[in-house]
Amino acid sequence: MTEFFFNLTWLIPLFPLAAFALIVLWTNRNRLLSTWVAWIGIGLAWILGWTLFFLSGREAHSLTPPGGGHPVPLFSIPTGTTLLRLGFQVDTLTGLMLFMVPFVCLMIFIYSKGYMNYGREDVDPRYSRFFAYISLFACGMLGLVVSDNFVTLLIFWEVMGLCSYLLIGFWFDKSYKDPKRITPKQAGLKAFLTTRIGDALMLAGMLLLYSQTGTLTFREIFREETLHTLATSYAWGQVPWATLCAILIFGGAVGKSAQFPLHVWLPDAMEGPTPVSALIHAATMVSAGVYLVARTFPLFVAVEGGTQLAVVAFIGAFTAFLASTIAVAQNDIKRVLAYSTISQLGYMIAALGLGAYVAAVFHLITHAFFKALLFLGSGSVIHGVEHGHHHTHHHPSEGEGHGDEREFDANDMMNMGGLLRRMPTTGWTFIIGALALTGIFPWAGFWSKDEILADAWRVFTHGGEFGVSMGWGFFVWLLLTAAALLTAFYTGRQIFLTFAGRPRTEAAAHAPESVPSMTWPLVILAAFATVLGLFGTPWANRFYALIGHQAEVMGREIAHGEFNPTVAGISTLVALSGWLIAWLIYGRKPLLVPVDPLEKALGPLYRWLKNKWYFDELYMALIIRPAIALARACYTFDDKIVIDPIVDAVGRFGRWLSEWLKKAVDNPVVDGAVNGVGQVTAWLGEFMRATQTGQVQNYLLVAAVTVLLLLAMFLIRTWGTWSVWLAFLTG
């Protein structure tokens, strides 16, 4: 029975893909049908996904290395002397992802119906297309988590890249009065190109792996002897192949999971519809990067104390801190969440860099739920404010003036306030999500984040399993704890600015609660954000039981995360103080005008943070401008100095040659021959024409005469043997 369901794995990505095809090809005229097709597609994937999750949990003992996951081979591509075996697999890590991905996707799909204004007059004109895209997106993520090799993984990875481009730029016709503000079209392009850098690195890593091992299947690469070979053979100097490949593959994760220095695309990706933000930044795309590292973890730990883990840990921790600082100074409700996402992903990456495999995956799962909740909640808020704005726009009141001279931004928290009364369901679920995010006991974030911090502390005090030095442990712990403080602060700021106090605009005052198809997913996700952490408590860590053995290669075991009262205390204290500071600044005395008090207090630092550490400007100056300049230079060189003259010369020579040929060869010889043939043909035609009367009866007469002649010839030829012929006829 288990076997049977495992062999159905290939269906999981197929369901959303079929939904995509159906919508694009047939149902796109009918919005309701498209909605249902998408829902059914992801719903079936969800049912099958959970089935596989529970089955894989039950069969966990047989799905651990060295046997690896249950293979579901699809087909083989002959590549010269070897076969490239492509297929899917199920193991506990896949099962865990199948627990999270399709369910969160389903919630987002359901939410999308309301968000895209189904059944209202302002329904999105590309409504069906939206569902097609998100179905394809879900297909990409589901395919990615069930892949058992780098090839299919990369394919689905790129499918997601394509979908992120399409979805971030979904409102590609939108433009803003402010020329500096990034438009959805540009944002999509930015996301695509930025992640492309990581993808290129990852592809390089994959190719190197293939050149070294001759295979791209996880199962075969992660065999002990293969890993050992990789760890002990050197690319150059003292750099083993394993380290090089791991760092390159990590490049892909950096791009997809928006880690420093490729994090710049993610905040701008907020230009897409909010369900897309939830989909990209919670359930699917950014998780894919972390999943990639988790999936290829054996490669990362192949070399004892290698550079690769240090790189991972540093980038993760630094990103977590960097993003949380930027989030403090953002006013766009979704951008705050975006930076929060980057920061939380940094946590996971850092945890992986310390070898805290279980903690990272645990946080990945819990984070997906509460971040989806937060994004959908913010979408609900934006939606409400937009409708409130429309409401006031249709009934303009005399007292309200400032909405008209500048563009109204429904995403701006400064335009909100006091929404808890207007949108109770959204508000309370959002607050639950915020508590989970900031790591308040007993919500999910507390347990997962605490486990990461505890692991970091343990590395600092006891040393890591994979040769991670103690110093890294402390560095990571410090940065993550600081980030936790900032997280609590900006989350509190967000809550107080959005939901507390009094409405600062007419739009916020008239914002209605969202439709049930939007609020129900919020409630369900809130429930999960509350209880999910209880499955990962240090005393009964189900996650450890499930995936703890996944990373056990080269004879090493992953330590069981233990409860550390000191760390837990510190982090709780930090989180509470973050909330407290936020309350002191924004909650105690609610804002009445849209000016952040922090701006005055921090001065230049605020601007520094507000402008995201000037990363965009830096990249503009360091990379994009030089690249464009280089391209110009190449173009000039190409066109004006080298290529053009050569082309001209070749052209002139050709012309001269052809002139000469024409005079010397063509006119006398070829033309003469052609004309001669023509004349002969014409003459022959005139001659033969007489026989071609076009009269069928003429032809028939000729045929009859011919038959007669043949008959006569036959008779004459056999005259001597006439009797023989007769005998033949009669016999």
Partner: protein, 105 residues
């Protein structure tokens, strides 16, 4: 006393040659069609004569079946041929095969 087989065959040959003459020398498409019908009839006479004088002893029926199929083909040919004649006549007011020569240069 039976009629010898060769009598039938000679009558059929005569019928065939007369039909051939009609096909070769007539100008009117309908007349040509009639000549073709005569030739087909000659063939049928042959088929049935051979059936009667050869096949009956063996108990097979190929001659009759073949004759039936020839008649079928003749009917189809007449239907299509006459339809063509009508179409040509309607378009060009003639059924003279020598005047229907638009395709000729």
């Amino acid at each position: 006393m039976q009629v010898p087989l060769s009598w039938y065959l000679i009558v059929a040959a005569a019928l065939f040659c007369i039909g051939l003459y009609g096909v070769l020398s007539r100008r009117n498409a309908i007349a040509i069609l009639m000549g073709v019908e005569l030739m087909l009839n000659a063939v049928n006479v042959n088929l049935l004569a051979f059936w009667r004088y050869g096949e009956v002893a063996r108990g097979t029926l190929a001659g009759q079946v073949f004759a039936i199929i020839v008649i079928t083909v003749a009917a189809a040919e007449a239907a299509v041929g006459l339809a063509l004649v009508i179409a040509v006549y309607r378009a060009r007011r003639t059924v003279d095969v020598e005047e229907v020569e638009l395709m000729k240069l």
